[in-house]
């Protein structure tokens, strides 16, 4: 049974339409790569799922109609978002960022410290003083502290040094294997996406154009729709 079901999703930024009919299904414990070129609607799809922008169409999570809920209630249902561009609470320390988001469940400060030891070392440092990679780790840790059923990572490794990207991908792998959490990934690194994802979905011009197992993704398809 699907944890997240998106059917014929349409969304617009004011008068400018951005999504024309996106279909997406994600089962519990599954990792789905959401792919496509820049400006094709990947982040818009995520924003619509999280109710950060208005949308029409089917939008169900764990049996609940998300259209009936405001953004914060969607998060409380169990959708943890790591937004594009990190966006930590910069005036708060690392620990305060995590505590502010904490909800009861298996993920706590110790768990996040275990996943990202660097954050534990900088627990009392203000988020504004962290490096880009550390801020990204904090953004992931903050989403995990909400103890979600589904973790959405929007361009989590964008603009980071290769060694930091490796750390982030290793953490995503650990989250997948150790917790069985469903993950929706948006990223440009096809190699890493292939290694961690079960299935892929490709968006082009606001439509779903391809869905299938990661193993079924051919170089021709990725070249045509993803540009790699």
């Amino acid at each position: 049974m699907s944890l997240l079901r998106v059917h014929d999703l349409k969304a617009a930024y004011g008068p400018v339409p951005a999504l024309f009919g996106v279909d997406l299904e994600l089962a519990a414990g599954e990792v789905l790569a959401l792919m496509g070129r820049n400006g094709m609607g990947k982040s818009t799809t995520v924003k619509a799922i999280c109710r950060m922008i208005p949308s029409q169409g089917g939008l169900q999570f764990a049996g609940h109609d998300l259209h009936a809920l405001p953004s914060y209630k969607v998060a409380r249902l169990g959708i943890g978002l790591v937004p594009e561009g990190r966006r930590c609470f910069k005036d708060l320390t690392v620990q305060e960022n995590l505590v502010a988001a904490a909800r009861s469940g298996p993920w706590d400060l110790k768990g996040v410290d275990g996943l990202f030891p660097r954050l534990g070392e900088r627990r009392h440092q203000r988020a504004a003083s962290l490096s880009g990679g550390e801020q990204q780790m904090l953004a992931i840790g903050r989403a995990l502290m909400t103890n979600p059923q589904l973790l959405i990572l929007d361009e989590a490794t964008e603009g980071l040094a290769p060694i930091v990207r490796q750390e982030i991908w290793a953490a995503i792998n650990r989250i997948k294997t150790e917790t069985g959490m469903a993950i929706l990934l948006i990223d440009k690194s096809l190699r890493e996406l292939s290694a961690v994802s079960d299935r892929a979905m490709i968006l082009a011009r606001g439509h779903t154009v391809w869905t299938g197992k990661m193993t079924e993704l051919t170089p021709e398809i990725t070249h045509e729709y993803v540009g790699v």
Binding site: P70, R76, F89, D91, E96, A100
Partner: protein, 327 residues
């Protein structure tokens, strides 16, 4: 640079030393001045929860200060005239008991803050400032037209209200009471700032949209902060009216709301002792410069200008070398 915790203790100690010196030097007026500073600080500590942690620039906090004052004034007026207070279907007796008056002031101010906050928090930025100002002015003009309680002339209370075990007419004893209330409010601020609620409120100030993505309702967080803030400012109003044994529409004036914001900015927005330092400076300037000129506010304006331009963290920011939060 000095650690903020040291500054906090030094300021608190200073607030104790001055009235104790005045007591030994037989200077009761100085104790009254110190009490005035403590009560302005208490009102500003209340506002600092909404402004400093929640980023809510309320230009209507005098509404809660005045409500606290009128809660005291009305209850004491009915007690001293031996007339019951008619509240529609209910009739209650007036009282001269401070604990009952404080509780009434806190409840009335909190309820008013809930209603005002519920409506005002539908807006942000300059609209929030304007709507809170409008509510403050509504209370101001209502109190002017409320002839039953003195209208524009206000209400005088002949004898200061009582507190069990204390003679509140003795300045140092009344100061002790007010100082204890200030310490309690500072403790609330300190605990609240580091609590999950305070952290979430701080996060909501920085980005309401981001805070929603972690399952928190920014409006509810800010509303609760506004209610706590209004309740503390209301308590300050009740005590302030007791200090002067007088309550009038000026307690609702927008100038007072502005002064509370100025105190916080001078001391340091969001800093625990920011409002306390601001209030101490304000009363000191008012007393010493006021003796030379009626236009002492000009110098207060110069200080405010310098702080806004060159020291955004206020006096605490200058001493600690750390800027305050961005509001």
């Amino acid at each position: 640079m000095i650690r903020e915790s040291y500054i906090n203790w030094i300021v608190l100690a200073g607030f104790l030393v001055v009235p104790l010196w005045a007591l030994s030097a037989d200077e009761p007026f100085t104790i009254t001045l110190a009490t005035r500073a403590v009560l302005l600080a208490l009102a500003a500590v209340g506002l600092n929860i909404a402004l400093g942690i929640g980023g809510l620039v309320s230009l209507g906090h005098a509404a809660f200060f005045g409500l606290g004052g009128y809660a005291m004034g009305i209850l004491a007026h009915h007690a001293q005239t031996f007339t019951p207070l008619e509240l529609g279907m209910f009739t209650i007796a007036g009282t001269k008991s401070m604990p009952i008056i404080w509780l009434t002031a806190i409840i009335v101010s909190a309820l008013a803050a809930f209603v005002i906050g519920l409506l005002s928090l539908r807006t942000t930025g300059v609209y929030f400032i304007m709507i809170t100002l409008a509510f403050g002015q509504m209370f101001f003009f209502f109190s002017i037209s409320w002839s039953a309680y003195g209208g524009e002339d206000g209400l005088s209370i002949y004898v200061r209200n009582g507190f069990p075990g204390l003679n509140t007419l003795v300045p140092i004893q009344f100061f002790g009471l007010c100082f204890t209330a200030l310490c309690a409010a500072l403790f609330v601020h300190w605990k609240l700032r580091k609590s999950p609620f305070g952290l979430a409120l701080n996060a909501a100030r920085q980005s309401p949209a981001r805070v929603e993505t972690v399952g928190l309702n920014p409006v509810r967080l800010k509303l609760l902060a506004f209610v706590i803030s209004g309740a503390i400012t209301g308590l300050a109003g009740a005590l302030f009216a007791d200090l002067n044994r007088f309550v009038s529409p000026t307690m609702f004036s927008w100038q007072l709301s502005g002064e509370l914001i100025v105190l916080i900015i001078i001391g340091g927005v969001g800093r625990l002792m920011g409002p306390v330092i601001g209030a101490a400076l304000f009363v000191t300037l008012e007393h010493f410069l006021g003796a030379f000129t009626d236009f002492w506010h000009v110098w207060l304006g110069v200080i405010l200008l310098l702080i806004v331009l060159f020291a955004r963290g206020g006096v605490v920011g200058i001493l600690t070398g750390k800027a305050g939060p961005h509001v």
